[in-house]
Each structure stands twice: as structure tokens, then as C-alpha cells.
């Protein structure tokens, strides 16, 4: 046996939590199931911020989950940038949930495009935090910010990694 882990996403003013999402749809609607074709971003504008977390639903007999790393592989369309609160240094602690917005995110770290060398998402507000029973990570907050000259969307892959101690 080993731990059971899923990715959750929070949306709306009431922090509705969608458990076990299978993809990250980014566009101009605050929903875990945004259709980015029907809700495209106007060039020069931003997607809604995403609030996601890694949720351990069952420890499966293991003693610890830690060392959370998040990154994106694949290019964005045009000159768009991908900003996040995930960072390996100067981590600001657990992000507090706020109703997602399309205004420019207060989080300014560029989303890594390869595996970070160390944890970049915390547990309990700390990059060295761990889960020893069921529970969730801090919120991963991220947003794609487009350039006025961008003309097309893109598809890339979000990677969520954790270490598990039996």
C-alpha cells in the first residue's frame, strides 16, 4: 500500500472545492472545468488565477508525504507568461484563498519549466513541511498573463510531484 493523492481546485467566492481534477483549464471563467475555447483570454489580459492543492486522501500505511514540487512543461502561446506563488526560496508561506480574479496576480514568480531542484510548494506554510496523516498542501496559485500580440492559446502539462516515506 501507498498513499492516495489527488489534485483539488477551489473556485468562487465560497471556495467550492473540486476534488480530483484531471486537468487545468485556464481561461476567462472561474471554474475547474473552464472551456478555454468558449472562454478565451483577450490578448493582453490574464486568465483567472487558479487555486489548487495536493490532497492526500489516504496515507496507505506510509508515514510521510513531503518535498512538493510543481512545474509546467511545454510552451505557452506567443509571449505569455505564467506566474505563481510556488518558489524554492523566499517562499511567502501558505497562500490565503481569495475569490479568483483576472487582474494581474500579486504572485510574481515565474512557473518553472523543468523540475525544481527542491520543494517549491509548502505544507503548513513551510517548504520543509510534511503530511503525516491525510490533509492538503498549501494552495498553489497560478495565472497565465498574455501579451497584446498573442494570437493563439496553447496546451502544456502541469507536473505535481511529492516524495513518500513508507
Amino acid at each position: 500500500m501507498a498513499a492516495t493523492v489527488e489534485i483539488d481546485e477551489a473556485n468562487t467566492v465560497s471556495e467550492t472545492l473540486s476534488h480530483g481534477i484531471s486537468d487545468t483549464d485556464m481561461g476567462t471563467a472561474d471554474s475547474a472545468t473552464v472551456d478555454p475555447v468558449a472562454n478565451p483570454v483577450i490578448p493582453g489580459s490574464n486568465t483567472y488565477e487558479k487555486y489548487q492543492k495536493i490532497h492526500v486522501t489516504n496515507m496507505g500505511g506510509s508515514s510521510k508525504i513531503d518535498n512538493l514540487r510543481v512545474w509546467r512543461t511545454g510552451s505557452l502561446g506567443g509571449a505569455a507568461t505564467h506566474k505563481t506563488n510556488a518558489r524554492t526560496t523566499s517562499y511567502a508561506g501558505a497562500a490565503t484563498y481569495a475569490t479568483p480574479v483576472t487582474t494581474t496576480s500579486s504572485y510574481t514568480q515565474t512557473m518553472p519549466t523543468s523540475e525544481p531542484g527542491s520543494a517549491n510548494l509548502g505544507i503548513g506554510g513551510s517548504l520543509s513541511g510534511s503530511l503525516t496523516s491525510t490533509g492538503s498542501s498549501d494552495y498553489l496559485v497560478h495565472q497565465i498573463q498574455t501579451n497584446a500580440s498573442d494570437t493563439a492559446g496553447s496546451t502544456s502539462t502541469m507536473n505535481y510531484e511529492y516524495d513518500e516515506t513508507a
Binding site: A2, T4, V5, H19, G20, D163, E164
Partner: protein, 60 residues
């Protein structure tokens, strides 16, 4: 403020608590969200890799 809802992204059912969500029998995956099968067809690989990383760090 409205009470927080918990939604299963697979079957769409809504729950008033995380505990209720974790303990429901999902009619899409066929298992509870606490069952590793709910992680998808690659769940054994995901779990094995996570344990490998944890063991490697413990040895350092």
C-alpha cells in the same frame, strides 16, 4: 458567506464536508477517493516513484 461545497470532479456529486467526499463511492471510478485506483491507470507507477524518491532522500 456560503458554506463551502466539496465536489467530486469525476462524478459531479456534491458534499457538505471533505470527509463525506472521501468516503463516497464514485460511480465513475468505481471506488472511493481514498482508494489508490482513483488516481488513474498509472497509480502504481505514481506510488512507486514517490516511494523511490522518499527512500532516496532518506539515504542521503
Amino acid at each position: 458567506m456560503e458554506e463551502q461545497k466539496h465536489v467530486c470532479a469525476r462524478c459531479g456529486n456534491e458534499f457538505v464536508s471533505e470527509t463525506d467526499y472521501v468516503n463516497h463511492d464514485c460511480n465513475v471510478t468505481g471506488v472511493k477517493p481514498s482508494d489508490p485506483v482513483s488516481m488513474g491507470p498509472a497509480y502504481e507507477v505514481i506510488q512507486a516513484k514517490a516511494l523511490e524518491r522518499g527512500a532516496a532522500r532518506a539515504e542521503q
